[in-house]
């Protein structure tokens, strides 16, 4: 572990970048910088002179970073891919997680193995968080639709709230559908009859 390494995070998701930065700081890395946007990306990266660059795979600017492998006037320090030829498991894990790492040539890969492992676990954690958020959101949406359907049924058929819900549930069971789907049909039908 080498706390003095300069680490740059290129990620257009501010939340994920923050999660990653926090993880790196907790692990003791003090020189961590996040950058966003595409304008003069390479120039900004060179100005920071990083030892390690982390980029998310949904970022089209990844191709811009590939230029750092080239020997040309604009490239001051050549860069190498973190993973070596034999280490296909590492590539697989990082691509699966959606992150890629580049390091300056000559840096021993053992020195940053922990950084990549940390990236992978943080990216995976972010992914789980996103999924949970999506699920919560859709559960909330479903509840709203069910409430509206209940209201429609109560008014149209003069039912209590419990009776309206029981009717939705019974119909769903009979038709082998989800309650939210039946509720959506009720809402749609009501819109049509307006």
């Amino acid at each position: 572990m080498d706390a003095s390494l300069n680490i740059v995070i290129v990620d257009d998701s501010p939340v994920r970048a923050a999660i990653l930065e926090e993880g790196l700081r907790e692990a003791g890395y003090v020189n961590v910088v996040r950058i966003e946007g595409t304008a003069k990306l390479l120039a900004r990266i060179y100005a920071l002179d990083p030892d390690v660059i982390l980029i998310d795979l949904e970022n089209p600017s990844r191709d811009v970073l590939e230029q750092m492998f080239q020997v040309s006037r604009i490239v001051k320090r050549p860069v190498a891919m973190f993973v070596d030829q034999a280490d296909s498991a590492s590539i697989q894990a990082s691509v699966d997680a959606g992150v890629s790492a580049y390091i300056v040539d000559g840096l021993k890969k053992e020195r940053i193995k922990s950084i990549l492992d940390l990236c992978i676990s943080r990216f995976n954690a972010f992914d789980r968080l996103q999924t949970e958020l999506e699920q919560t959101k859709s559960a909330l949406e479903e509840r709203k639709v069910i409430d509206r359907a209940k209201g429609i049924l109560m008014k149209a058929k003069n039912l209590s709230e419990e009776q309206a819900y029981a009717l939705l549930r019974k119909t769903a069971m009979n038709e082998n559908r989800k309650i939210a789907e039946v509720a959506q049909s009720v809402v749609t039908a009501a819109e049509l009859f307006k």
Binding site: D63, E66, R73, V95, D96
Partner: protein, 388 residues
């Protein structure tokens, strides 16, 4: 027949046409292939996901297939190309200001790439004398036809692409925006991005890439060499579906249906009319509405475009050597040529149709001697500007 499931990656560009039509028109399904298309945001992603097996096949830059097979810039994974997705199709677009300067500096017809390259050299020299920032050119990837076409063109006019100008990688969707904000003065990219810049009035198309090289392999259907060996039957079905799609695309009576398929938001996702211009080779080249036509602008299956030609691989390898991306050796040349597999294509597609419209040396460059795939050294020696 049980359906074989395949995952195939692509970048939203017009030369993914054969792949997209093969899937969306049902040619793949007719071959018993259930293909999931995955739209990607970078060539690095396409390459990596193909290399590690997340993709079974991919729409890939021809030079990336070679670089991957030679282990240049990244992990070495042998790739084979049994089918050519597109020949040509790029263009060089310049800012209105640079366009005016080139016309001003040109001593004759600006449709001639040698005239424009020399004009550009004069502009570059003038800027140097005046202490101005060097001109910046955008291209799509270090191992791209765009990079080599830009370099080939300007070097013929006397410009050293690594010393006299800046060449920067930009993802295609950012090209137009970068030209507008003047981060770049020009770019070389595939369709539809040149037309988008012209339509927005922020650039003029200076050259079609087919004016620089009459016949240049652009994208290939790429698979891992090992996968091709292990799945010969699936490969044959995949190539057949692509050939049927290419034939369908080149039949002008299908144009409306083809452009509708390609324009879909989850495919290329641009206006059908812009795609139509590309397939017709009839492009608006300047904001004033002037039009240039060239039936070689983008070849999908026509003129032998679908049959992988090792001469093309040799030319691309020669550019990698010329610009210092790899050393020159017989072994590497042979390995590069072996990526393009006309033998696989011939065994699967019985076309029987003689191909007569390719240039005599297979490339048809606007400058320099005829290309000889057996003699890369002579090709390299004929250029004053190189970085070996």
């Amino acid at each position: 027949m049980t359906e074989t499931r395949l995952r195939i990656g692509f970048i939203p560009l017009c030369d993914a046409a054969a792949l997209l039509v093969a899937v969306d028109k049902g040619f793949a399904d007719a071959e018993g292939l259930d293909i999931e298309l995955i739209r990607e945001v970078s060539w690095s992603n396409v390459r990596d996901k193909l290399n590690i097996g997340l993709f079974d096949a991919a729409h890939l830059l021809a030079p990336v297939a070679i670089a991957s097979s030679l282990g240049l810039g990244h992990v070495k994974v042998p790739i084979v190309a049994p089918f050519g997705l597109g020949v040509n199709g790029n263009a060089i677009t310049v800012s209105p200001q640079l366009h005016a300067e080139i016309i001003e500096a040109a001593d004759s017809n600006v449709l001639d790439p040698l005239v424009t390259a020399r004009a550009l050299a004069r502009i570059v020299a003038e800027r140097k004398r005046g202490g101005a920032e060097p001109l910046t050119f955008g291209m799509t990837f270090p191992f791209s036809t765009h990079n080599y076409q830009l370099r080939f063109w300007m070097a013929a006019g006397g410009i050293d692409p690594d010393e006299d100008v800046r060449l920067v990688v930009l993802p295609p969707p950012y090209m137009v925006e970068s030209l507008t904000s003047r981060q770049v003065d020009a770019f070389c990219v595939g369709a539809p991005w040149n037309s988008v810049a012209v339509d927005l009035g922020v650039g003029s198309i200076l050259h079609f890439s087919c004016e620089i090289l009459a016949h240049a392999a652009e994208k290939v259907l790429a698979v891992r060499a090992r996968w091709a060996e292990e799945n010969p039957d699936v490969l044959a079905r995949l190539v057949r579906a692509h050939q049927r799609a290419a034939d369908f695309i080149e039949d002008v009576s299908n144009r409306a249906e083809v452009t509708a398929i390609l324009a879909a938001p989850n495919r290329i996702g641009v206006d059908a009319e812009v795609i139509s211009r590309t397939l017709e080779g009839r492009l608006k080249v300047a904001p004033d509405g002037s039009v240039r036509t060239d039936d070689r602008y983008l070849l999908v299956g026509r003129s032998g475009a679908a049959r992988p030609d090792p001469v093309q691989a040799a030319w691309l390898y020669a550019q990698m050597v010329r610009w210092g991306q790899t050393p020159l050796s017989k072994e590497l040349l042979a390995a590069a040529k072996a990526v393009f597999r006309p033998d696989l294509f011939d065994a699967i597609v019985q076309s029987g149709e003689a191909i007569t419209t390719t240039p005599p040396d297979g490339i048809g460059a606007f400058a320099g001697p005829a290309f000889d795939a057996e003699d890369i050294t002579s090709h390299l020696n004929s250029w004053a500007i190189k970085h070996r």
